[in-house]
């Protein structure tokens, strides 16, 4: 039969590789040069953060007082006495401190976004799915959080809980991460709500209901995966904001306590010496900028890769 041979040939011609939407998105991401650069830098940042203590030439709190004295009591400049990026005024190796700071910044990047997802996704999903009264209450709550000044909220929270166990956890960092997360879930909640609102009207959701799939599974298996693209993008693009928030807080002295340092607090310490020993400001600032740019590149690339409207345009 003609149909039979047609089926046979088409099958032999076409190599069958299951190309899911996710894999296609990955392909698009990898074809985007800036996104790949961003991805590599992000991976590098995480690797540095994890291997920091091993890679660091000195412990972050070790003081090279001899070097400082030899320099007339001023910070050791870059490249002198085995200090790749120099030292601060107390003789602590800046490179080692940057590596340690990477750990803090990358932890911020992850923990804050986890908090954001844990709060934002359920609130957005409940509001979008149930609508009505749920929607009103939950969205007014997000409006309130949104309207409240973030920095003030974080500082208040940090001060209020500083003496509790909660405030002491992770050397005081946990509270900062938590506070930043607590103020930044709003965007994700609104995004998820919008996604669910539009997706719940789609026919495949109606079809799922028509075969008796329970609500919970419809939300988890049908709605969230379809709305995941924008959420991933929002989370990735939210990371620079979180790193910046932490740096801002560290700069004004909230959060990580000496002798540990985050990139933000390094800038804060270094600015006193910006005229004579500008390396103390420049290197941490470059680290922050690089991290922000790489996450932004990656986020932009993800948005292009995951946005179905742009499909096939590359």
């Amino acid at each position: 039969m003609a149909t039979n041979t047609a089926a046979a040939t088409s099958a032999s011609v076409r190599p069958r590789a299951a190309m899911g939407p996710w894999r296609e998105a990955l392909g698009r991401l990898l074809r985007n040069r800036l996104a790949v650069i961003g991805l590599i830098l992000v991976i590098l940042a995480f690797v540095t953060a994890i291997l920091g203590p091993i890679l660091a030439p000195f412990p972050y709190e070790a003081q090279d007082l001899k070097g400082v004295l030899a320099n007339g009591g001023r910070p050791v400049p870059p490249g002198v006495g085995g200090h790749l990026l120099g030292t601060d005024v107390l003789g602590r190796d800046l490179f080692s401190r940057l590596l340690d700071g990477a750990q803090i910044s990358m932890t911020v990047a992850i923990v804050v976004q986890v908090v954001v997802l844990l709060i934002g996704v359920p609130i957005g999903a409940l509001a979008g799915w149930f609508g009505g009264r749920w929607d009103t209450y939950l969205m007014r709550l997000t409006d309130v959080i949104y309207a409240f000044p973030d920095l003030l909220f974080i500082i208040l929270l940090s001060v209020a809980f500083r003496q509790t166990f909660f405030g002491q956890a992770l050397n005081g960092l946990f509270l900062v991460f938590f506070a930043i997360g607590l103020t930044s879930w709003v965007t994700v909640a609104r995004l998820v709500r919008g996604q669910i609102l539009s997706l719940r009207e789609t026919e495949f959701v109606e079809a799922a209901r028509a075969i008796g799939v329970p609500d919970r599974r419809i939300i988890l298996r049908h709605l969230i995966p379809n709305g995941l693209g924008p959420i991933i993008v929002a989370v990735t693009l939210g990371i620079p904001g979180a790193i910046l928030s932490e740096a801002t807080l560290a700069y004004i002295g909230v959060g990580v306590q000496p002798p540990r340092a985050s990139w933000g607090s390094l800038v804060a310490e270094g600015q006193k010496y910006i005229r004579g020993d500008s390396h103390l400001v420049i290197f941490p600032a470059v680290a922050i900028a690089l991290a922000l740019i790489s996450f932004t590149f990656l986020g932009d690339g993800l948005r292009d890769a995951l946005d179905p409207k742009l499909k096939g345009k590359q």
Binding site: A18, G20, T202, E206, P214
Partner: protein, 368 residues
């Protein structure tokens, strides 16, 4: 294309069900039920169903006092223009009318002896997909783009029949073969975008039939497909519904489709059934001017080339503040004064089972 899978060729083994599953014992349960007068009860009995939508502009009476029956294994057509309440009727049967704004405000739906409107939400979920399959209009949007075909067919099977993943997959492969998708096992992990429109509708049919339902609701199953594919899909629905002994409620605006598929046809207009009868009766002796209009508006092979297609003048009424006289009267060329005063009842015509809602064709009417 289907030859190697044997979808239509050698009789495929009827899908194995775990012993003791409710569907396996269905034939017994079905025949046991009788009405008080001893006649066999129908599979689906809709009595005085009214579904209204409460909108800002007023109450839309999308379905108003609709009654019909559907026997085991029977195919019933629901025919009418857009917005006459066909789809809402089907959605009401599965209680999938979007609420708000929609609400079933009255009536009774009995499915296989079960009072559908009295069921709990959980009980309703047990019915959907398992006892009542649903085929939607647009296969392009009715499949989830992020899940594999295999998962989406297995979803219903796993939900209702509690099969293991392996057993469910085997059943999915068998179903895909039945609906004529070649090399089914290799296509399990494919995504909807890798299928053509006709293939996707085949997948939808596989999903609808996956738990061997007693009733299949097909809501304009071929409207989104081109004409050749349309014929294949209809043939498939017909073959499989006979093989599975599934009753079909076919919703369509195309009388041609209804004629080829159905045993009986209900013609709906403005939320009401205006004529009902067997296909032969309805096409031979339509007793309602609206049905004439529908039949007349079918394009014919002997039409003069370039001639305009015939249509029924006017528009169906808005279903807010519907008139209390015949709803079709304003568009009806045969209307008399009485048509604009009172609404006729759905009453028997010459042949038993043939009913029409029209003053003109009643025994004392002015049309013979």
């Amino acid at each position: 294309m289907v030859a190697e899978t044997g979808a239509t060729g050698e009789a495929p083994s009827v899908i194995d069900l775990p012993p003791g599953s409710p569907t396996a014992t269905r034939a017994l349960a079905g025949t046991e039920r009788t009405r008080p007068d001893g006649s066999p009860a129908p599979l689906l009995e809709v009595r005085n169903l009214s579904t209204h939508f409460f909108t800002r502009d007023g109450v839309v009476q999308a379905v108003d006092d609709v009654s019909f029956e559907l026997g085991y294994g029977e195919t019933l057509g629901l025919v009418g223009e857009s917005g006459c309440g066909k789809s809402v009727t089907a959605l009401s049967i599965t209680r999938l009318v979007p609420d708000p704004p929609g609400k079933i405000v009255g009536g009774q739906i009995t499915f296989d002896g079960i009072d559908v409107l009295g069921l709990s939400n959980g009980g309703m979920r047990q019915l959907r997909g398992k006892e009542i399959g649903f085929i939607f209009q647009d296969p392009l949007t009715s499949l989830n783009p992020t899940l594999t075909i295999g998962y989406q067919i297995a979803e219903s099977i796993r939900e209702h029949l509690k099969l293991s993943k392996k057993a469910a997959d085997d059943r999915v492969v068998e179903l895909l073969g039945k609906v004529g998708i070649p090399r089914a096992r290799e296509r399990l992990n494919d995504y909807p975008h890798q299928f053509s429109g006709g293939m996707r509708q085949r997948v939808m049919i596989a999903i609808a039939l996956s738990c061997d339902p007693k009733l299949l609701l097909a809501d304009e199953p071929t409207t989104a497909l081109d004409v050749t594919i349309q014929a294949q899909i209809l043939e498939l629905i017909k073959t499989l519904s006979q093989e599975f002994n599934t009753a079909v409620l076919l919703i369509t605006h195309d009388l041609g489709i209804a004629a080829g598929m159905c045993d009986r046809i209900n013609v709906m207009y403005a939320g009401r059934i205006v004529e009902t009868g067997t296909v032969d009766e309805l096409f031979e002796r339509p007793r309602m001017p609206y049905t004439w209009g529908l039949l007349d508006s079918l394009p014919r092979l002997d039409d003069r080339r370039g001639a305009r297609l015939r249509s029924i003048e006017g528009m169906p009424p808005l279903l807010i503040n519907v008139p209390d006289y015949c709803r079709f009267a304003p568009r009806c060329v045969y209307a008399h004064d009485v048509c604009l005063e009172r609404e006729p009842a759905l009453s028997e015509r010459a042949v038993a089972g043939h009913q029409a809602r029209c003053w003109a064709t009643e025994p004392k009417g002015w049309i013979e």
